[in-house]
Symmetry: C2
Subunit: 157 residues, 2 copies
């Protein structure tokens, strides 16, 4: 409690923050709802399958997959369990390498990604990309990187 009174947000900062809320809150909700409706899978499930689909052998270590999808290992494990039950991927321990596990996309899983991809891209365009000009795209890139860095910078506390 040695903190002094905080620097409150100034008007333009506040406006930016409020605008950001739309991106942070409404966008994921909208994308999720649409994926669910059109492809019967979660936005996050799509991410997992999609990342796998672009990997050589369509295979990836659970840890790496978690990193790539910005998820906790626990979350990924639960999701992988469900996807495995649905026959969209398989898991296999990598022998002689500690507790490492590889996830591999099945044919059925690949087919699902391929089927879902167009709708996904369309949604991303419709809700975000197509409304932005080249400068906005660049800015978004910078902002995203900054956020990523800032979060990584404060792992514990």
């Amino acid at each position: 409690m040695t903190k002094s009174t905080p620097r409150w947000l100034e008007p333009d900062e506040l406006a930016a923050w409020l605008a950001n809320s739309a991106i942070m809150i409404s966008l994921p909700a909208a994308l999720d709802a649409r994926m669910q409706r059109e492809s019967g899978m979660t936005f996050f499930e799509y991410m997992v399958l999609s990342v796998l689909s672009e990997e050589p052998e369509r295979t990836m270590r659970m840890s790496d997959l978690a990193g790539r999808t910005a998820a906790s290992l626990s979350r990924l494990s639960h999701v992988a369990g469900r996807l495995e039950a649905r026959g969209l991927l398989t898991r296999a321990r990598v022998p002689g390498s500690g507790r490492r596990t590889n996830a591999t996309l099945t044919e059925a899983g690949y087919a699902e990604v391929v089927a879902a991809a167009p709708g996904h891209v369309a949604a991303v365009r419709e809700y975000l990309i197509d409304d932005l000009d080249r400068d906005d795209l660049k800015a978004l890139r910078r902002i995203g990187s900054a956020v990523e860095a800032a979060i990584k910078r404060s792992p514990a506390l």
Copy 2:
């Protein structure tokens, strides 16, 4: 299924989209975790209390509150129930006005917001605002507005 092959994302669009994922996924998670740790409440709960605290009489209709927090009425109702159980707000039907209900912040609720606010602002600065220059702030504002508009534009489907 009359769709032709979709316009895939071009490199700079893809980069922007990936960067956006950090904002959409990691940022809310980070803010949520921190609010939980430092103030024992959800990010969303904070929003609700905070919005109420700035209202005259610290009172607002449930519907309006839902709109302001970008939540479904159902979600808000659940949360309001919990907050009410914790003594942070009260609900009361508005007599003679259909089924309208007003939510009002209690003293205890107000005290919680006040206590949580500095940490909240600090987090918002640390994870987002303080890393951005004036142009980025403006861009963020434009992008947020665009997203909001795009989502409103596609209510059904």
